[in-house]
Amino acid sequence: MSDFFSAPQVTAARETLQKLRMCMRATIKGKDNVIDHVLTALISGGHVLIEDLPGVGKTTLAYALARSMDCAFSRVQFTSDLLPSDVTGVAIYDETIKEFVFKKGPVFANIVLADEINRATPKTQSSLLEVMDRGKVTVDGQTHAVGAPFMVFATQNPVDYEGTFPLPESQMDRFLMRLHMGYPQPADELEILRSARNGYDAIAVSSVVSRSDILQLQSLAGHVFIEDSVLDYILRLVAATRTEAEFRAGVSVRGGLALKHAAQARALLEGRDFVVPEDVQSLAGPVLAHRLTLVRPAADGVEERRLVAAALKRILSAIPSPA
């Protein structure tokens, strides 16, 4: 069966995404690039790890996304005493009906913000693994599906490592992208200061797309065409990370697949039904960087991010893109 789909489908997808994009841009000022990446992750069904300092709009971003598409949003503040059941839910005995009833945890939402994920114990962190991977929670032998679409926004502080449990590589690999918000531009920040908004609960966003629209977009993204030479290009990039002396280990096969899916989603976001090398290039950093570990550990997260980004940039410039 051909992967090709019709022009009206592409046009409709572009319009939907454009509405979503404009809606989010109205709420999050000066972060167009981050918004595009988040939308890309959403369409490709991935999860996002946002590494940044507190107070730069991470929660607002997740909340605005949830509200824009009429989705359930929940937030979990990860702390060292947080239990897995606090995340996934717990079965409690109901006296009235004389049996155990499953009380859903905060993970049963469409957009879940796992704030400061590295402050929780590895056990709690790993409770997110299954749900991130399969979109399902298993408690007492019972499997419960979470909402669809489902997207985890995890955040962590790249500087303050005191009392944290760094995410294991296996869990890092399950995030499609690692993003950085960064401080807004002065003009954008002035606009934020002018607004009377206080906290994300005060954000009044009306939904512009439905959940079914998002599911349809996710299904469409998988059919975006990738020409062989672009696949070759992805493979070369991934292979280069495996032979690069600065990295302890290269990108996994899952990482390569993630880059492919993200590139397909970005193509759809740009209103194309085919991937161009530029899609791959623009996503290589966000998709691959957090999957790479340096041979010589850096002083902190920011330094490590910088070194990995430099090595990736070198690889990107060394490998010729398909012309």
Partner: protein, 776 residues
Amino acid sequence: METLRPQLNLSELRQLRWFLGGLIGLLSAWTVFYMEVDALVVLGVITVAVPVFTLFPRLSIALPQVFHLLAFPVIVVLFALDIWATREPLPAMIRLDLMLLCYRCIAPRGRREDLQLILLALFVVVVTGVFTVSIAFVAQILLFTGAALSLLLAVTLSDGRTGGGPISPAKPARRFLPQLSAAPVAAAEAGWERVSWFELFGRLRAVADLRVVALGAGLFGGVVALSVVLFLALPRFEISNDFFLDRLITKSTRTGFSDNVTFQDVVNIQQDTSVALMIDVSDPDMIPAEPYWRMLVLDEYSGNGFRVSQGLRNTFLSSREKMHVHTTRGWGRNREDRATWVMYFQPGVSKYLPLGGAFTRLTFGEPQALLQSTPLRLAQLPVEPAKMVAYRVEGMDTDGVLRDRDFARDRRIRVSDPRASFMPPERMADFGYEEPPARDVTFLELGLERPEDVAQLEKWVEELGGAGDGGAEFARRAATWLQSRHSYSLSMRLEEAEGDPLIRWMKSSQPGHCELFAGGLVMLARAAGVPARLVTGFKGGAWNPVSGSITVRNSDAHAWTEIWDDDMASWLRADATPGSQITPTPSPTSGFRGLEFESGWSARFDGLRVFWYRRIVNFDQDSQLELLRGTKDRVRAMLQSVRTAVEEKLRAFANWVRSPWDVPRVAAVATVLFGGVGLVWFWKRVGRAWWMGWRSRRSDSHRRDPVRIEASRWLARLERAERAHVPVEAREAMRAARARLLRLRFGAREGWPPPAAVFRQAKHAVRELARARARR
């Protein structure tokens, strides 16, 4: 368009290096076959062991440690014994090198050992290169160079994989066995000895980028071509004769052209069909009908053959060799013909140079030590050459008549004064002679021990009517008589009996070979008082139409007689062997058409060999000038013919234009013009798109899809155009063109817009941009 190339891993690179090392070892060791170095044992071991160890590297790993510990001391001891026993340093060094090479090929190798292997192999190849001029060696050295470069590349790639670190340690734990110091490298190469060659070469084919291979081959070919150009253009000089190495290798005679020829020797040579001599003639029409190539004159009958007597050696063969002869003058009759004969004399035949007869000038390509016998018309090298010798002969007599005034004078004295034959040399002056006149005695000695045999000979001479009417006439009668009694055969069966074998054969009716006929004629002539001698050399040859040269093989070896004729005052060739002309006819030349023609692959190969000798081996300054002149003349002639053709066409066109233009003619021209324009238009609008679409549908790979390739070209062009400022009015057109081109380049085929329209749109966009820029 980029494609992904998988890379060979360290283990595969190690296997490749192992294979290339074995190949280099074999290729270089086998070059020793071109030299006369006695190294058959080592060569045999290499020929068996190296392929086996190369194909099964596990054997190499399994070699016990004691083998590595003992190998070097044993090799050194063998070398010392070799030197002590043979006293020949170079062959011993070559054998030493072969032993080391053999060890290096079968013992495990790291990077350092690979480089040692290349050096050892290079030594053998360079030494062989000094000695040999074989064309097969050229192919071998080209292959060797390619393999050595590939090995170096594989070593470099291995270094690249290990980050430039050593593959083998500086101080290995086991002294003679290279170890892998870096643990990751050892892990990466672990199990390399379990090799599946089929899979390895499959992988090699998969990783080989054809463009890189083509580039490498192109560069290699370029270097070879440059070397050829340099070879052709540089001033000529010859070092081999001054090079000491060739004197360190002595060569033994393989065939029987020596000073002592026993019956059956020439027949033995005839069994060998290899090439003995190649002859390049400037004028093929000067080739005689029956060419004879004289090499050696033998006078003394020994009872079982003929040999050069001591008297002949003292009297006629110069004992003092001339050193560094480049050109020597001969005794030719300075005939009008300007034919030059370039002889390429193969090694292993004889030290006597084949010649047609007397000559005016003999020139070597390089200065040469030479012994020359003026009376016998012979030229001899001091030792049998170890490599091909090329020499040019001018004014060569090929008519079988050798004039000898001195001999004629001596003979007149002896015939008029029989005492002169027996007088001691020191008393010559007493009889009024300045020098010994008895030099023909050696050509009259019968050398028969039994008087009965002598009597038998005299009886036959009497039957033949004596030699009163001259040597030539007697030779004809005697040869006819011999041919009437014996037929020709290479095998001769003479029953054991008392008496001289030659006389017994003459008495019988057994068939015989050329030496017997020639010997019989010599005996009959001498018994009749006519000086006669046996000559060995080659008769005939075959014409090679590929190279335009004569090929003389060892199977053309022959023996014949030279008989003295007083009237002509000459030695006259007389060939008593059946099937030959007994004495030469007055107009003996018939050109190359009189010879047999060679055909088939062997003729092509021989032709190639002659070309090799002509243009490469024997390429002296004259040849260089000749080639340059020839090239210049050919280029001139080509340019002239092109110019003439163009002028002719232009004239014809002018005439055609000038001729009257009537309506049908105008209509015809207009039809052709419009038809042509229409065809071009149709091709651009429809044909090209259809052709591209057809090829695109047929292409099984994205890489070969012509539409994608064309789109890629246009995208690159647009990108170049957009590097400078793009005016606002042109931006939209550029953006739209780019978007559609991107769809053609990277999109699914089903969603393609019409390619031809997209390319037109891109063309318009580029033009629009140029116009917008011009307007500003």
